[in-house]
């Protein structure tokens, strides 16, 4: 610093011995809470699985849903959540400077492990987003199959986009465009508050619209639960084909017995072969389209935005007076244009590798969806679809075997008086 004082006004030396107050540095939420959150998540997942498989209790699931909405939703303000953790993990893998918190990693992994063994227990009553939508569902309607199947690929697109933008460091779009966080925080941008209200209103008659047609983490859980060790069944014993449960699922996740007509098999096989041939074609086409879209996608990154603004307006006269944020940014670029442009070029390069992968992913999802539609599903009973079932436990009550067994249990457990010969009074 030399002889020159670094201060315009030298700090005073008080004669009265006045003590300088220290700058307060309030700490954040104690780290122990992160582990408590993980413990609550683990407990809730365990209880949900137990309620679904052992108790087969819709009431229990409802109670747990309310708890989850209160704890993970309103109390924790929807953060940390598994849906967003997908992006943290993507950033953690791609950016070595980003330290992924253990708690976030646990929120990402635990529901997935449960899905691999017991299906979507997380969606049933642990996820505050799912629980909230489940609680507002009043009069479910059935969606047309083409709409249902068509929209069911959207979560995979959204997941790909979330990973793409998180991995390239452009932002966390899944968090940014989360419709229910505004409900839990009772505050937020107008657009997202509106989206939240619209989705909740829609959710009163279309079961869980976000879970089914948007949720990127649900898409991952769906993939996991296709391979799950155990699965939810409508009936506790055996299916009598009574068809009482046929319309019980508000989420269109109940598979009907497949047609046993042998004349259907041959065209189905041909269709399957064609769709299988389509898979590599779709991936390559998607990849090429992704590569073409890379400049447009890279504009999501703030540095690229700034570089483009600088290239467009760099020579404009410097503004005087109070500067707008845009002018401040332009100032920064003017001071060191080389660095900004170089950083932007680096980001664009990253996008050039990432967007073809994203495009390929889109192609793969579409093609595999077609394969899935062409696959001949052999089933004789009414069974919840492994992937689509949210384990909400609604269908259990529709099965006469269930009610019969329950009535039997209740009478046999109670050593009630009428069964015993009454003593003469």
């Amino acid at each position: 610093m030399g002889a020159e004082s670094p201060f315009r006004f030298p700090p005073p030396e008080f004669e009265s011995g006045h003590q300088l107050p220290l700058t307060a540095v309030p700490g954040g939420r104690a780290w122990i809470w992160e582990y408590i959150d993980v413990a609550v998540l683990l407990a809730a997942l365990g209880i949900a699985t137990w309620l679904i498989y052992k108790k087969r209790s819709r009431k229990g699931i409802l109670a747990l849903s309310i708890f989850s909405v209160l704890y993970f939703g309103f109390w924790r303000k929807g953060c940390v959540c598994s849906i967003g953790s997908l992006q943290n993990v993507a950033l953690g893998v791609c950016d070595s400077s980003y330290g992924l918190p253990i708690g976030v990693l646990a929120f990402f992994v635990l529901p997935l492990i449960f899905a691999l063994f017991a299906g979507r227990s997380f969606c049933a009553a642990v996820c505050p987003h799912g629980a909230l939508q489940d609680l507002v569902l009043l009069r479910p309607i059935r969606l047309a199959p083409w709409l249902e199947q068509g929209l069911s690929v959207v979560p995979y697109f959204y997941m790909g986009a979330g990973v793409l933008f998180a991995a390239t460091g452009s932002g966390f779009i899944i968090c940014q465009y989360d419709p229910f966080i505004t409900v839990f925080r009772m505050n937020g941008p107008v657009l997202m508050v509106t989206a939240g209200i619209v989705l909740l209103l829609l959710g009163t008659f279309v079961g869980r619209p976000y879970c089914r047609f948007l949720c990127p983490y649900g898409a991952l859980l769906k993939l996991g639960s296709v391979f799950s060790r155990w699965r939810v069944r409508v009936t506790p014993t055996f299916c009598t084909q009574c068809r009482l449960c046929e319309a019980s699922c508000p989420f269109g996740a109940l598979n009907h017995p497949s047609s046993a007509n042998p004349t259907d098999i041959r065209p189905e096989r041909r269709r399957l072969v064609w769709t299988l041939v389509l898979v590599p074609v779709a991936v390559i086409v998607g990849g090429c389209l992704g590569f073409l879209a890379s400049p447009a996608a890279s504009r999501m990154h703030p540095t690229v935005q700034l570089a483009e603004l600088f290239l467009k307006k760099g020579n404009a006269p410097v503004a005087y007076g109070p500067l707008t944020p845009e002018a401040f940014a332009l100032e920064r670029a003017r001071r060191d244009p080389k660095q900004v442009l170089m950083e932007a070029a680096l980001v664009q390069k990253r996008f050039q590798t990432a967007t073809p992968l994203f495009g390929g992913w889109i192609g793969l999802v579409v093609a595999l969806k077609l394969v899935g539609l062409a696959l001949h599903r052999q089933s004789t009973d009414y069974e919840p679809d492994r992937g689509n079932c949210f384990s909400c436990a609604r269908c259990f009550e529709y099965c006469p075997n269930e009610t019969g067994a329950r009535a039997f249990l209740e009478t046999s457990v109670k050593p009630s008086a009428p069964l015993q010969p009454s003593a003469p009074s």
């Binding site: 005073p12 300088l20 220290l22 700058t23 492990i113 391979f227 944020p325």
Partner: protein, 197 residues
């Protein structure tokens, strides 16, 4: 009695075993993949993760901190490093550019919420402290102090308020890239005397 498996008719054995085999294989593969992912990311995990903070050396006091936070009242507050402060009687962070009088009258204050308290220490020194309950992080005082004074006022994210969003909403709009993730063990980037002004 309600054992799901006991009374279920068994499907044809060949079909069952093939599907089951594929499913088991996929599950094992998925678990391995998850394990690798956990191993890969856990190796980089910092003990307490990271939190967001403003680099006061980069901040240009644009005012977006007050309006862009996801919280109703921004988690960004003005912070005072008293060791740098000149304790001026005419504080350019406290008073309007041309104040009527050098007193605590509302018309003289720069702060829109009167969040700075001015107290007399000894002639001619006055002490300025921030009431964080009132401060909205608009940085008007920070601008005044940095432009004409020692720059002892600066903005910081207060971690007792910040919810540590994945992507800080203010960092996305910050024109000078002053927001960055810092280790949770050292969550503040304070101005100290060694920095100079």
């Amino acid at each position: 009695m309600i054992q799901a498996t006991s009374m279920k008719p068994t499907p044809p054995p060949f079909h069952f075993s093939r599907r089951q085999f594929l499913r088991d294989g996929a599950r094992v593969a998925a678990m391995t993949g998850l394990g690798t992912l956990v191993g890969l990311t856990a190796a980089r995990t910092r003990g307490h993760g990271t939190v967001w903070q403003i680099d006061p050396q980069k901040c240009v006091r644009c005012g977006l901190c007050a309006t862009s936070c996801v919280l109703e009242q921004s988690a960004v507050k003005c912070v005072h490093a008293h060791a740098i402060c000149g304790y001026c009687q005419l504080c350019t962070g406290y008073f309007e550019p041309e104040p009527n009088d050098l007193n605590t009258g509302a018309e003289n204050q720069l702060c829109p919420t009167a969040a700075i308290r001015r107290s007399f220490v000894e002639d001619p020194y006055y002490e300025y402290t921030i009431d964080e309950g009132l401060c909205i992080g608009c940085a008007k005082c920070v601008e005044g102090c940095n432009r004409f004074g020692n720059g002892s006022l600066f903005l910081q994210i207060r971690h007792d308020r910040c919810v540590n969003c994945n992507q800080c909403a203010i960092s996305k709009v910050c024109p000078v890239d002053a927001f960055r993730r810092v280790p949770g063990s050292q969550p503040y980037l304070l101005k100290t005397t060694s920095h100079g002004s």
